[in-house]
Structures are given as structure tokens and as C-alpha cells.
Amino acid sequence: MPPAIEATGLTKTYGDVRVLDALDLHVPRGTVFALLGPNGAGKTTTVRILSTLTTPDAGHARVAGHDVVTARSRVRRAISLTGQFAAVDETQTGAENLWTAARLSGLSRPAAARRAAELLDRFGLTEAGGRLTKTYSGGMRRRLDLAAGLVRDPGATQVMFLDEPTTGLDPRSRRELWQAVRELSDAGTTVFLTTQYLEEADRLADRIAVLGLGRTLAEGTPAELKARYAAHRLDVVASDEQSYVRLTERTSPAATRDPETRTLGVPTDGSAAHVRELLDTLDPGRRDIARFGLHTATLDDVFLTLTADKEPSRV
């Protein structure tokens, strides 16, 4: 069995901006893979290339074993895509939206109606199915969009692409969507999602690639990334404004900064020796740091560490 997604040297340039710069990806079947990166890192472009909507300037990609450029139709039959903006018609009902998508993917009228009803049920939209989607909440709309991507025969969708599926959703809707993604993954679908939320990648993904400047800055399991790049974070609180300024000058760009609370978060491996050394380096005069705390790092720290030095690296 070929991997779900395999990409080598993907490059895409828009005007004189190199959005993707020789990007490599490898996603085994049945896993949840998160592409993590800030706005403009090339996440959407990657999804558009892998889902056959855009062709790369250089490099190759195979999805579900088929080339995304030379075997477009085969790839399209094996994937579904939920874009950044829910592509459902506001003035169609939920059921009509699904029916339209099901007919377009080749189902007969009765089969399309059955499929629409099944999907509404599966995504908890049966009651709302007869209402125009403009009356839906953001979360319901995303779920409908997700469902619309799955109208083919159950099991036909091997790889599901989700481009920032929870951007703009309230916490409750986000949780509902995560649940839907987990269920898809449990059913054996490979999920490829992009996100700017580290918590999301941490919760959902088996493997994460951090994307920056069109390249993979790091790749690994959430635990590996945390262990490799910032196992812990030392938060130091400055005594006053001047101290905060002095501390800021002495910290690496990888540190998190919060001027409001005069707090700096510095990556560390968490050993006593390193923490002692850090405190001495940051505050040689022993007057700038009022308090400190040690935390287990979040992916935010990994992310900041990686995007601060901008050097490509791998786990």
C-alpha cells in the first residue's frame, strides 16, 4: 500500500514570492497529520496542490497512490476537501446542499437523497437539515461542509483535507469539529489538516510538520517536537519596566514576551543546571527578576523556537 500522501520538492511561486520552497511530506495511511504554520507560511497552497486545485511549479506529489498532476481525476475520487471558508450555499437547506454535492459526485437521485439523510444524521444535523444554511451557526456550517466533502460512497474517501477547519469558530463548535475529525480518523480515513492553533495540532494529530517560509522546519509527533525543541519554558517576571527592558535585551528571539505582565518565557530543557544558568545569564545583577515559574512547554513554544531562528531542521 502506498502512503496516503507523498510529496517531494514541491515548489510554488506567485509573482516573486516563493510560497513553497522544495517542500517534502510523507503521511502514512490512517493517520492524522497536521501542517502547522502562521498565516502566509504556505499551508493553503500545499492543500490546494495536494487536492489537485493548483499545480506545483516543481516537485511531485502522490495522493492515495496517484499523481496529483497527471492523474487528477483519480486523486479527486479518493479525496475530499473542506476549505478555509465553508463552501455551502446559504440559500439552500442543509439537505439540498448535500443532495447537490451527492448528485455531482455521480449518485442517482434516490441514492443521493439517502446519502444526504445519512450524512445529516452522522454530523448531528438531521433537525436542521430542512433549514436554509444561512440560519446555521459557524460550527454547523463547517460540519455541513465537512459532510459535503464525504458524499461519495462510504469508504471511497481515503484522504480528507481540512484547511484551517476551526478558524473563526467558538470553543464549543471547535470541540464538536474535533470530535467529527476523530470519528473520521477512527473509521480509517487519513486526515490532513492545516492549522495555526497549536493546541489543535497537539490534540488531533499523530504527526505534525511545522511549516515556515515554504519549508518544513520540523516534523515529528507532538511529544517529540516538544521534547526536541522546548521541553520546558521558564517564565520570568520582571521587577519593573526598566528590568523588563533589560531582560528583553538579554533573551533570545525564541522567548515569548508579554509586556502587560512583564513576563518573558524562555525555552529550557528543565534541568536545574540549565535553569540556574538561564537565571544568571538573564539577570547577572540579581535585581531584574522578581519571580519565576517553570512550565511544561506547549507547542506554542516549539513554534516560536522554530520560527525565531528560521533555520530548517528535522527530528
Binding site: 489537485t52 486545485l53 476537501l81 440559500t91 439552500q92 439540498e96 455531482l104 455521480g106
Partner: protein, 251 residues
């Protein structure tokens, strides 16, 4: 091929549902030609000498204006689908540019056939009495449908390249004014001579002349063929251009 037809008819059904629920737009596209007809018949008509009752003279032109104006709204619906990413969903379902646009055009033709019928009804109310033979009716309806199809597809092609709703709306504006420098409202002979060349040879003129002739059971000469030629030419241009533009916009 049958896949393409299913896709196009599904998308046409979607387009019709969407426009049925956008009543504002449907009412506007009908009210405007009706208002224009009333303005011309009751405000200006008395001062215009066309050799017949003015309402008889003007209605064919109003029908053509209504058809063109309504068909031009295809640009907006196509442009919205492109802008909102709906087209990406269709493309990942392996729907090509042709069924996508054909769906929009079919919806536009249905919508406009309906609004044109209503405008014709309003024309009856204010005293329009056609005397067409059954064959004349069929020919007139056929010509008008051909015109709506050509303009819809042309608008769809323009909708592929306009990136805002406002820009797409400009097509409607253009289509609303195209019948003025023609024989729609006043005989061309009354216009300044430098306009004659354009007014006599622009696509709308032979269409209006044929409609007038067919509906009033008068000789039409070769204008129906010229009109049909224009429609075929414009449609060919539109289909070719839209195929190219769709590929360009979805690279």
C-alpha cells in the same frame, strides 16, 4: 457525457433554487424592464412617431432589453461562486468548467424565460396586441431563447474574470444600454447619421427587427437569420473564451 449532463442539470437546479430564494433580484430584473416600458409608452411615447401605436412598436425592444438585462446577472452568480470557493468544492468533485457554466446558463435561461413572459403579460395589460401566427410565435420565442443563452454564456465568461460583485454588475449595466442605440425605442433614421453604422449593425437590432416582424406578422426579410448568426457567433465566442478563462482562473 451523461456525467456532464447530470452535473449540468444538477447545477441548473441549484441555480434555480438559489435565484428563487433571492426574490429581490428576481423582482428587480422584472420591475426594471416593466418600468422602462411604462416610461416609454406613457411619458415619451406620445412624442415619438413610429407610424404605429407606440406600445406596438416598443414592446419587442423591451422584451429584448429584459432578456439581455436578466441574462447579464449570470456574471454575478458565476463570479460569486468563484470568489466564495464554491467552485473548489465542485472541482474536487471532478466537475469541469463546461458543466459548471452550463448549469449557470441553464438556470439563467429558465429564470429569464419566466421574467420575459411576465413582462409580456404586463405589455398585454397596457394594450400590446400581437398578431403573430403560431409559427411566428415559435420563431420569436426561439430567437429570444437563443439570445438569452448567448448573453448568459457571455456574462458567465465575464463572471469568471471579475473579482468583485460590483465589477460583475457592470455587465448588467452594459446590457441595459445596448438596446438604446438600436431600433428598440426609436427608429434608427431619427438618430444622428454617425450612429447609423453602429445602430444598424449591432447584434440587438436584427433581433428586435425580427421580433417586431414576427410578433406583428409582418415581413422580416433576412433579419432572423442575421440575429441567429449573431447569437451563434457570440455563443461560440463565449464558450471558447470561458473554457480558456476557467482554466486560467483555476490554475
Amino acid at each position: 457525457m451523461s456525467d456532464t449532463l447530470t452535473a449540468a442539470s444538477t447545477l441548473a437546479g441549484r441555480g434555480i433554487r438559489l435565484s428563487r430564494r433571492n426574490l429581490d433580484a428576481v423582482i428587480t430584473s422584472m420591475m426594471l424592464p416593466i418600468m422602462l416600458m411604462l416610461v416609454f409608452v406613457y411619458f415619451f411615447g406620445g412624442a415619438i412617431d413610429t407610424g404605429t401605436r407606440y406600445v406596438t412598436y416598443v414592446v419587442p425592444g423591451v422584451l429584448v432589453l429584459c432578456a439581455g438585462f436578466g441574462a447579464a446577472s449570470t456574471a454575478l452568480s458565476v463570479s460569486e461562486d468563484m470568489r466564495l470557493g464554491v467552485v473548489d468544492r465542485f472541482r474536487t468533485l471532478d466537475i469541469g468548467g463546461t458543466p459548471f457554466l452550463a448549469g449557470h446558463v441553464a438556470a439563467a435561461v429558465t429564470r429569464n424565460a419566466l421574467s420575459t413572459t411576465l413582462v409580456l403579460g404586463a405589455a398585454f395589460v397596457i394594450g400590446f396586441r400581437p398578431s403573430a401566427s403560431p409559427g411566428g410565435w415559435l420563431a420569436a420565442i426561439g430567437l429570444l431563447l437563443a439570445y438569452i443563452t448567448a448573453v448568459s454564456w457571455l456574462s458567465a465568461a465575464i463572471g469568471l474574470v471579475t473579482r468583485t460583485a460590483e465589477a460583475a454588475g457592470a455587465v448588467t449595466f452594459f446590457m441595459m444600454f445596448l438596446p438604446y442605440p438600436s431600433s428598440a425605442f426609436v427608429p434608427i433614421e431619427t438618430m444622428p447619421s454617425w450612429l447609423h453604422g453602429f445602430a444598424e449593425h449591432q447584434p440587438v437590432t436584427p433581433l428586435i427587427e425580427s421580433m417586431r416582424g414576427l410578433l406583428l406578422d409582418q415581413p422580416v426579410g433576412d433579419s432572423p437569420w442575421i440575429a441567429l448568426g449573431w447569437c451563434a457567433g457570440l455563443l461560440t465566442l463565449a464558450v471558447t473564451a470561458s473554457g480558456f478563462l476557467f482554466r486560467l482562473r483555476t490554475r
